[in-house]
């Protein structure tokens, strides 16, 4: 795969997350009843960063959970790929809480549908809001994000990769030519 271009650098990612943290607080009028749920794996790192930023702004550390959506994927049995199942860790009740679901890229919407199905199995949150670093379009389900770091219209022949220090050793968002219009990305 040939690298095409860097569309967001470390400073850009940090600025976007700072803005999202402020928007979350503004929309929810503070931290009351708020919890963050990061979708494995990229979403978890972003949720942890949002947790720190919100703590810095408000002085309150809001609870953070980790959600693995593999068991809820709708393509699990129609593909030869067997995704590795990771651990889900939500050590608190979701009842009557405001859940901020965090992921790195919003694409077809199927991951978010799976995440919402999984969350509902854990309890009945008061509401679920979605925060993503990148929205690249091409939705296959009627899902939209409440908080977006960057809208990034891209073709299906491109793949959007969010590299984060925690996993890749550097912070950047890269658009790459995938060579086929499969719609599969990161």
């Amino acid at each position: 795969m040939e690298q095409k271009r860097i569309v967001m650098d470390a400073a850009g990612i940090d600025r976007s997350l700072t803005r999202i943290a402020h928007e979350i607080l503004e929309k929810n009028k503070g931290t009351e009843e708020l919890i963050l749920i990061g979708i494995r794996t990229g979403g978890v790192f972003l949720a942890e960063r949002l947790q720190k930023k919100i703590a810095k702004i408000e002085g309150v550390e809001i609870p953070l959970g980790i959600l693995d959506i593999t068991m809820y994927r709708d393509d699990l049995l129609s593909t030869n790929r067997k995704p590795k199942i990771g651990k889900t860790d939500i050590p608190f009740s979701l009842e009557k809480r405001k859940v901020i679901l965090v992921d790195d890229v919003l694409f077809t919407g199927r991951t978010i549908r799976a995440a919402m199905d999984a969350l509902i199995d854990f309890g009945r949150p008061k509401l679920i809001q979605l925060a993503v670093l990148i929205d690249r379009g091409h939705r296959e389900l009627p899902i939209r994000a409440d908080f977006v770091g960057k809208d990034l219209p891209s073709s299906l022949w491109e793949a959007v990769s969010v590299n984060l220090t925690e996993k890749s050793g550097r912070d950047e968002v890269v658009i790459e030519e995938s060579g086929q219009g499969s719609g599969v990305n990161n």
């Binding site: 693995d68 068991m71 809820y72 049995l77 030869n80 067997k82 590795k84 651990k87 199995d121 854990f122």
Partner: protein, 306 residues
């Protein structure tokens, strides 16, 4: 990384990487069983047939729960309710089941090799849930998972397997699994219950309980399999218990943090004293809990994909 074969017939067929994949997947499935809603949609629309042609409570229930927690449709067939009692052969039963398009067949059979026969003639994945005195791979995997969860590793541990080694499929699968994963295995039991050439499986052989469990990290007690014995291999249960029952006194020879395991069902006071079975060293019920997760992992890894 995925399993290289369509079936799980024995631990002997698995590589270390495949064992690790199964255990890691199972560790993720543990969490599902702790939820209020213990069900995920992973295998929705799939059919799992539990063909249990030999008595079983925990393995059959464990497979059934595993299938249901993954949203598969699970069908149980026992020897008394199948056409086997009318004289149908296993191969004919298998062909008829295959014609109904299930997605996985789990089989327990009193004859060693029965799962291998099914695997040859059926296109569906076959999981061996115990065949005669041959193998019981899911038991060995849940034992490895329990050891790993409690000790953090398997390699380097000293494991004693005690009892009726000759008739035990659990012992055979565990010897394959434990030695592959780097544990040092000692087997002990009466000479009449010790198969010839067992040392060729890479284990140390001894004939006294005390010798086997000295400084052991893990003690795996086996059930006396009276149903598989064609002759009297010891004078009486009382005498067997006298020499081979794990009790509060002889367990002191093992390490202070020893784990006591048993595949169940337990003959209390014969293989294991009640105070040990229910005591702080015992992880017997953890084994049962982990069994559901291991079977969920296998159903997930062997099912699906076009």
């Amino acid at each position: 990384m995925k399993l290289s074969k369509k079936d799980l017939l024995g631990i002997r067929d698995l590589t270390v990487e495949e064992i690790n994949l199964i255990l890691e997947t199972a560790e993720s499935f543990i969490e599902v069983s702790t939820r209020d809603i213990k069900k995920v949609p992973t295998l929705r629309g799939k059919t799992v047939i539990n063909l249990f042609l030999e008595a079983s409570t925990r393995t059959r229930t464990s497979f059934e729960i595993a299938g249901k927690r993954l949203s598969a449709d699970t069908i149980n067939i026992s020897s008394t309710t199948s056409s086997i009692v009318k004289g149908e052969t296993l191969i004919d039963t298998a062909r008829n089941l295959e014609a109904m398009n299930p997605d996985v067949i789990v089989i327990r059979h009193s004859a060693a090799g029965a799962p291998q026969i099914l695997a040859r003639i059926m296109k569906q994945p076959i999981i061996n849930a115990g065949d005669g005195a041959h193998e019981h791979p899911t038991q060995a995997l849940l034992d490895l998972m329990t050891i790993r969860a409690k000790k953090g590793k398997v390699a380097g541990l000293k494991v004693a397997i005690v009892g009726d080694i000759a008739h035990s499929r659990v012992a055979r699968s565990n010897i394959y699994g434990l030695t592959k994963m780097g544990a040092h295995v000692t087997v002990a039991g009466p000479a009449t219950m010790m198969p010839r050439y067992i040392d060729r499986m890479g284990v140390t052989v001894c004939y006294r309980l005390e010798e086997a469990i000295r400084d052991a990290d893990i003690i795996m007690m086996l059930r006396i399999q009276t149903e598989r014995q064609q002759e009297n291999l010891f004078p009486s249960l009382r005498e067997y218990a006298n020499y081979f029952c794990l009790n509060g006194e002889n367990i002191k020879l093992a390490k202070d943090d020893v784990l006591v395991m048993h595949p169940g069902p337990i003959n209390r006071g014969v293989e294991i004293a009640p105070e040990i079975a229910d005591g702080p060293y015992s992880v017997i019920l953890d084994q049962v809990t982990n069994g559901v997760a291991v079977r969920m992992a296998l159903l997930y890894l062997l099912t699906g994909g076009k």
